[in-house]
């Protein structure tokens, strides 16, 4: 086999699919390899950080190398993740990778107890002098606690089989430093999904990315755009993928990648413990990830059901039209925005002596699943006055909807009430003597938080003006 001299293009840091019993899911791994190759990637990296190498035994890692090398079958280079804290263990893995037929090995700097420059240099020197396999040096200080300095890279570049540096630190300054110091002796591969475009422009030859499992086509297009010198296109692609990149790199790593692949229909199972869904990747972020994939067009939005607007809006909490009329309570309804970002609010307002206090208490203390009420707060420990209750009128079915109602909607209603009280639209004495209940309807597939916040604020301000100004 011809020796690999340079690495370039987009290389997904493959996740390792596990079955329910945490054993390696061979078929899923083969499917994943084919999925990314068909989408145009220029190589694959099994058993890296995203591949949960730190949770796998050497035999398991070897098994993954074998499956991947077999399934790839020479179509693209395979760079095997061989990192370990101890030099001998890492070297053993490199030799196994070499025997199996991987094209290169990715070797992370020692972690847990991180040595300094000398120890790190010796780690790589020992490995390089004991194998012919091309080596990609891997800098990921956020995991290892150690930043491989440019000076150490300068020296490592002198080894013939060190062909590249993968840098996941996210520092463009560092990437440029390495390119400048090593004078073309090695390639730099960016490993931080949030700066791919900038790094490629800066002279990185390619990227090893967690998110390239999920959206390989986007990154390949971006790589091509940079090769053609189409900066505008490259920027647009990076910004389009920015949130996906951010969620994956900062909040979820392999958990997020596996969740997102699942959404795309590529079943790769769950991560090994301690990583679990609802941990580093919160349920809210998971839904946000889905939403971003919808925006990128790789997922079709799944439209839900909007309930019909009920006539007797507040009768369910005892405020029938008769009661409202009899006690001089005031009501108003208003919508703002359009499409999935449309917000429809209706409100009832009354004094503490009126039946609204009982309705307020009832709505808060007798929650119905999916329609749970909460007070309007600017942020925790900063509720507004008059005390205002927000009640969803469309059933909240998932965390994404919940994060809209109990996020931008809650904040915007609170801000509208506070602003209206300050400017005097809501009479000052009403802050202590009155209550407000607001029913909220937003589309189950609402996408844009900023628009939801803006539309809610606008609708709420209009309602308040209707009630007190008219």
């Amino acid at each position: 086999m011809a020796r690999l001299h340079e690495v370039k293009g987009i290389l997904p840091a493959l996740v390792t699919p596990f079955k329910k019993d945490e054993s390696i899911d061979e078929q899923a791994l083969r499917d994943l390899v084919n999925f990314v190759i068909e989408k145009g990637v220029h190589g694959v990296v099994p058993v890296g950080t995203t591949g949960e190498f730190m949770y796998m035994k050497p035999e398991e890692r070897e098994k993954v190398f074998k499956i991947v090398v077999d399934e790839v079958n020479g179509r693209v280079p395979v760079i095997a993740g061989c990192g370990a804290s101890g030099t001998d263990i890492a070297l053993d893995l490199v030799k196994r990778a070499e025997d199996i037929g991987a094209d290169a090995a990715l070797v992370v700097s020692p972690f847990y107890i991180a040595p300094w420059d000398k120890g790190v240099f010796e780690h790589f020197r020992r490995i390089c002098s004991s194998t012919d396999l091309p080596i990609v040096v891997y800098n990921i200080p956020q995991c290892t606690g150690y930043f491989i300095s440019g000076k150490v890279i300068e020296d490592l570049a002198e080894f013939e089989n060190v062909i590249a540096l993968k840098d996941s630190s996210g520092s463009i300054a560092y990437i440029l430093e390495v390119i400048e110091r090593t004078e073309g002796k090695l390639n730099v591969l960016v490993g931080h999904d949030e700066i791919v475009m900038a790094a490629l422009m800066a002279g990185a030859s390619g990227a090893i990315l967690a998110s390239a499992n999920v959206i390989p086509e986007v990154w390949c297009q971006l790589y091509d755009a940079v090769q053609r010198g189409d900066i505008t296109k490259a920027r647009k692609l990076q910004l389009g993928a920015q949130k996906v990149a951010r969620i994956i790199t900062r909040y979820g790593g392999p958990v997020a990648v596996k969740a997102a692949l699942g959404m795309r229909g590529i079943k790769v199972g769950k991560t090994r413990r301690p990583l679990v869904s609802g941990g580093v990747l919160s349920w809210e972020d998971r839904e946000e990830l889905r939403l971003e994939l919808e925006k990128l067009g790789v997922l079709k939005p799944s439209y839900g059901r909007v309930e019909e607007f009920p006539k007797e809006e507040f009768s369910d909490i005892g405020l029938t039209p008769e009661v409202i009329g009899k006690h001089g309570m005031r009501v108003a309804k208003c919508s703002a925005g359009s499409g999935t970002e449309e917000v429809i609010l209706s409100a009832v307002v009354g004094t503490l002596e009126s039946p609204i206090s009982e309705a307020f208490a009832l709505a808060l203390s007798l929650p119905r699943e999916g329609y749970e009420a909460l007070t309007a707060i600017l942020e925790p420990n900063l509720m507004v006055r008059p005390a205002t209750l927000i009640v969803p009128a469309v059933k909240v079915e998932n965390m994404r909807q919940a994060s809209m109602i109990y996020g931008p909607v809650q904040a915007a209603v609170a801000k509208a009430v506070a602003d209206s009280l300050e400017e005097g639209t809501i009479p000052k004495e009403f802050a202590e003597t009155g209550l407000m209940i607001v029913k909220v309807r937003i589309h189950p597939n609402a996408l844009n938080r900023k628009m939801i916040y803006g539309n809610t604020y606008e609708a709420m301000r209009t309602i308040i003006k209707e009630i007190w100004g008219g």
């Binding site: 206090s357 307020f360 009832l362 909460l374 900063l382 009280l421």
Partner: protein, 489 residues
Amino acid sequence: MSKKFWPRGVIPALVTPFTKDGKIDEESFRRLIDHLIEQGVTGIVPAGTTGEFMYMKPEERKRVIEIAVEQADGRVPVIAGTGAASTKLALEFTKHAEDVGADAALVVTPYYVRPTDKEVYEHFEKIATSVGIPIVMYNIPQCTGFMMQWWLVEGLAEIDNIVGIKDSSGDMRFLCSLFEKVGGKISIICGHDEIAAAALLAGADGVILASANVLPDIWLKIYNDVKEGRIESVRKTQRRMQKLLRILVRGGALAIKEALRMMSLPSGYPRLPLILGDVFGYEHWEEMRIELEGIGKIPKSEVTFEVRGKTIKSMVPAIPETPRKISNLTFRVGEGFAGPPIFEVAHIDLILGLKDGPVGRVCEKILKQPQKGHEPKVVMERPFTVLVPTVTVRTERHARLVYEHALNGVKMGVEASINDGFLPEPLLDDLVLIANVFVHPVASNARRVMLNNFKAMRYAIRKAIEGRPTADAIFMYKESARHPFRYTP
């Protein structure tokens, strides 16, 4: 001890009181200085970190030092904060302090752009050899990004005019290396409130502390206990203070000013960017208040409850914003939030009212017709308190956390509020409380769930009774409010 000045004892790092529109509040400043000197402090530090030196113009800093020297009037030494990022500016401030009669100058290591040891050495050398006033060096790496090493201190201690070092790093190893290398040669002062007692026990000459604005008597007791060898007593005092100190260190000048205000020693407002609800959060404010009450710094005073013709007097730990007369308890809403950790936060929407009013009626209703997944549970009979879960309860674990642990916390919160006087004993049969309690579905740390709900319930009750936040507080903080779920991740 050949040095001409030897800082020792308990020295408050004075806050600088500002008026609401940002001017130096001279009157409050002078009052604070008098108060602290009367309490027995052994020196004062104007224009230090706690004095917000970095937010003041040169003329203002100089003025603050002038006022302090004038007001102390020789009763205690004044160690003026004269640090600056540049040597020239620090020298200018130090010369000024000397001219106006300060007894020493506290000079912080240069910050923002991190210098090397050589540059820091020459910074102090230049200042110390250009003035006659004694210099106390100041190490505070969490602000400057630069940690002094013992060899740097050891070298600088050779300079005649350098008489001490204040170390705020909180690093006991560093202090111990200073005792070893320069002990007895220069004064070694601890500037980190959380370890100050330990530092004194280990041999520090004194302390310069933010919390000594608030607790001068307690620090003097600790200092004297150390001198007399009453180690057990020091430990006891320190442990009782630990939580409060943690909060005060976190909250800095803002927390100190709020604490003094709560204690009816108003010391003005901080300058921006310091703002309540940020590093020093609303829940820290509530917790600080409770801690100050616990050590008798906010004594109980009389509040009148008027309910349906009954007049009940209750002793509560009132602060300036506590209404002295509370007249309508038919229906009140309060909200309380307490964390961390993130998945164990407690968030309570509380409705508090009279049994024969709307709250009482609703209470009866919900107990008769519970909603699936949101079943209410009676917490206690007196006052009648019901818990309702915010989030639908779906798992065994979640049910246990809500109905056992959060419930216990809510109960403790009510009991504490009775004890505090916010729920007066004669009214307990008339009151009904409904707590809508949020427990995250993936919460696991049961003890934290309980404690956070205890705190959140206590805050919510206080806020409902005291009518907080007031409209004015809402106006003051609404623009800077940052709802945690308003933004995309």
